[in-house]
């Protein structure tokens, strides 16, 4: 399973970077979305994938039996998803406002503050 995931994650990263290098601000935000998803999948995969073994300790025992899934990366990914969701919601509103004010979907027209 891991090699398939690794290839998928690599594709997501490269697609995200390709989109972010475009001039359109909409593509920029889509690129950011893909990038955060790629990072989340990477955490999920790099911590090891264990199928069908929830980390529950049976009654009367002090440790779970056999190999169980690691709950920590799942908690981490959940937190990261929520944060990315909030930040991207902000980014979407930002590009909408920027489009209303600058009246262009082109990063090259937004360089007044650079000079």
């Amino acid at each position: 399973m891991e090699p398939v995931m690794a290839i998928a994650i690599g594709l997501l990263y490269s697609a995200a970077i390709f989109l972010m290098l475009r001039r359109s601000i909409v593509k920029l935000v889509i690129g950011l979305m893909l990038l955060t998803n790629a990072a989340n999948l990477l955490i999920f995969t790099s911590a090891g994938m264990t199928r069908g073994a929830p980390p529950l300790i049976p009654e009367g025992m002090l440790a779970p039996e056999g190999v169980v899934a690691d709950p920590l990366p799942q908690a981490v990914v959940l937190t990261a998803i929520v944060i990315a969701f909030g930040v991207l919601a902000f980014a979407v509103v930002l590009i909408r406002r920027a489009y209303e004010i600058v009246k262009a979907d082109d990063l090259d027209k937004m360089k007044d503050t650079d000079t």
């Binding site: 950011l32 981490v76 930040v87 930002l94 406002r97 007044d112 503050t113």
Partner: protein
């Protein structure tokens, strides 16, 4: 149980919640801002005295012992940074009483400021690498909203660059955390430090070190990824600019110091050169960028970049003295840079513009403002006996002791260029006569933006400036006791075992035994 470690994070969150409750009452929000930040300063001094006595103070959140729970830990570096955060918070909340107009206050300036301070304090105190990411995001979300407060065209354009590059840095940071967890199976920084030393693939550790360097380098605005800073910092209201200039990039610098002294000290053979030349190029590009500018806040923004170079150079030389100098530079820079931005706000209020060409004659008109600017600007350039001199002196001396002559020479030359930019501002704003074509908006100098008389509001804006200018002078005059504290920081950072023992407590032996057992298991499968 040491509540003073958690309180600097909880208190700004509480003040933020209170000012959200009084969403419609400007008066209550203003009162909460000043009172809350005053309380924060008191608590941060409490934390500082605790750390001064005990060396390290920790608290295990929720009672879960490290490395399983999240540990908040304050060493001397964290304590000093928290005190400075609280100081800047208090100074800015007083300044914004006069400078921030009702149209900004109405859209949540004060709650966002509290949230930002909570994020900054959390980042300084946490002992958990993922928790550090979370605090970074808390800080970033608050800063995003503050940056576009007011919604002008330039703010939107600046914000797109700021948001994109900071999100990119966050994702690189998150990716590095994911890979790191895959390698060591823990998120506690002290535990990571122990396990990385035994790690099988030291090449992978170097890759991770560079990923953290890039992520924090973007956030600290180091070369070559600093472009977002001069594109955005001059666009928001001046109180927001000053808050960002004082604190945000320094969180990136703090993280570099923490991560590279604690977790990646074994990769220093490889990363030291990258850090040194990154620092040198940061200094040079920042100061050259500033030389070309004629807008008050843009010059200052480029100088933030340049000064970040000195701090990173302190880390890169990697001796206790150099680290002490680097932290001294952080401390000096937080005070001085915030003050320069605050002064630019006052001159804007007096003359209605940030363009240097259109300003002038303020030395005659406001001699005390000129004195405050003189102290801050020449401190930034490193003129004795002001605070910047000692920061630069210690770093240069550490550079010569480490026999890094080229980069030390660059640091000195950049100091000269800084002086050039500061003299330029001095000449244009204070020394030359007011140009004839600048019709100083007469009503503006009598009545403020919000329609109130300017005399009390100007007094409110000048008080923080005076306090910070005096602090710059005092840091210079009483450099000796401060240098003692900085030396403690240098020793603590260069000997991370103390930090590890403080965080893990009695578990440290257990973890070391576990690491040895797993290493033995791998050898004989």
């Amino acid at each position: 149980m040491r509540p003073e470690v958690a309180l600097p994070v909880l208190l700004p969150l509480l003040s933020g919640a209170i000012s959200l409750l009084f969403w419609r009452s400007r008066l209550m929000q203003r009162f909460t801002a000043v009172a809350g930040n005053l309380a924060l300063l008191v608590i941060s001094l409490w934390l500082f005295t605790s750390v001064y006595q005990d060396g390290y103070v920790t608290i295990q959140m929720g009672g879960w012992a490290a490395p399983y729970g999240i540990t908040l830990v304050a060493d001397m570096l964290s304590a000093v940074m928290i005190v400075l955060t609280a100081l800047i918070g208090l100074v800015l909340s007083i300044y914004s009483l006069a400078s921030t107009g009702p149209d900004h206050e109405k859209f949540g300036f004060y709650p966002l400021m509290h949230l930002l301070l909570a994020g900054v304090a959390g980042a300084f105190l946490t002992g958990d690498i993922f928790n550090l990411y979370v605090w970074f995001e808390v800080m970033l979300v608050a800063s995003f909203a503050l940056l576009i407060l007011g919604g002008e065209k330039a703010q939107m354009e600046g914000a797109i660059k700021y948001v994109t590059l900071n999100l990119l840095a966050s994702v690189i940071f998150l990716t590095a955390i994911g890979l790191l967890y895959g390698m060591v199976g823990t998120l506690n920084m002290a535990d990571i430090a122990l396990r990385l030393k035994e790690a099988e693939h030291q090449g992978m550790v170097e890759v991770l070190a560079v990923m953290f360097m890039v992520a924090f380098g973007i956030k600290a605005a180091a070369f070559p990824l600093f472009f977002w800073l001069p594109a955005s910092y001059h666009t928001p209201p001046v109180a927001v600019s000053a808050l960002f200039a004082g604190l945000l990039t320094k969180v990136g610098v703090y993280s570099l110091f923490r991560v590279f002294t604690l977790m990646f000290d074994q990769t220093m053979d490889y990363t030291q050169d990258l850090l040194i030349w990154g620092a040198a190029l940061t200094m040079v590009t920042g100061v050259l960028g500033a030389a070309a500018q004629y807008e008050f806040r843009r010059i200052l923004s480029f100088h933030i970049v340049s000064q970040i170079g000195y701090m990173i150079l302190g880390l890169a030389l990697y001796t206790p003295l150099a680290i002490a100098g680097g932290v001294f530079a952080v401390m000096h820079n937080i005070v001085v840079k915030t003050n320069l931005f605050l002064i630019s706000g006052i001159t804007r209020r007096l003359q209605g513009t940030y363009q240097l060409k259109k300003m002038g004659g303020l030395y005659k008109e406001r001699p005390w403002l000129a004195v405050a600017f003189f102290l801050s600007a020449f401190s930034l350039a490193g003129i004795p006996p002001l605070s910047g001199f000692f920061a630069k002196f210690v770093i240069v001396r550490a550079g010569i002791e480490a026999e890094a002559y080229v980069v030390t020479g660059i640091a000195l030359a950049v100091g000269l260029m800084t002086l050039y930019s500061m003299v330029k501002i001095w000449n244009e704003v204070f020394w030359k006569a007011l140009p004839e074509d600048n019709l100083v908006p007469e009503p503006k100098s009598v009545v403020g933006d919000d329609g109130r008389m300017v005399a009390p509001s100007l007094w409110l804006m000048s008080m923080p400036v005076g306090v910070l200018a005096a602090m710059s002078l005092l840091i210079g005059v009483f450099a000796e006791p401060l240098m003692v504290i900085m030396t403690v920081i240098g020793d603590q950072l260069m000997n991370p075992q103390g930090y590890i023992d403080a965080v893990l407590g009695s578990n440290v032996d257990v973890i070391e035994a576990l690491i040895e057992a797993s290493a033995a298991e791998e050898e004989s499968p």
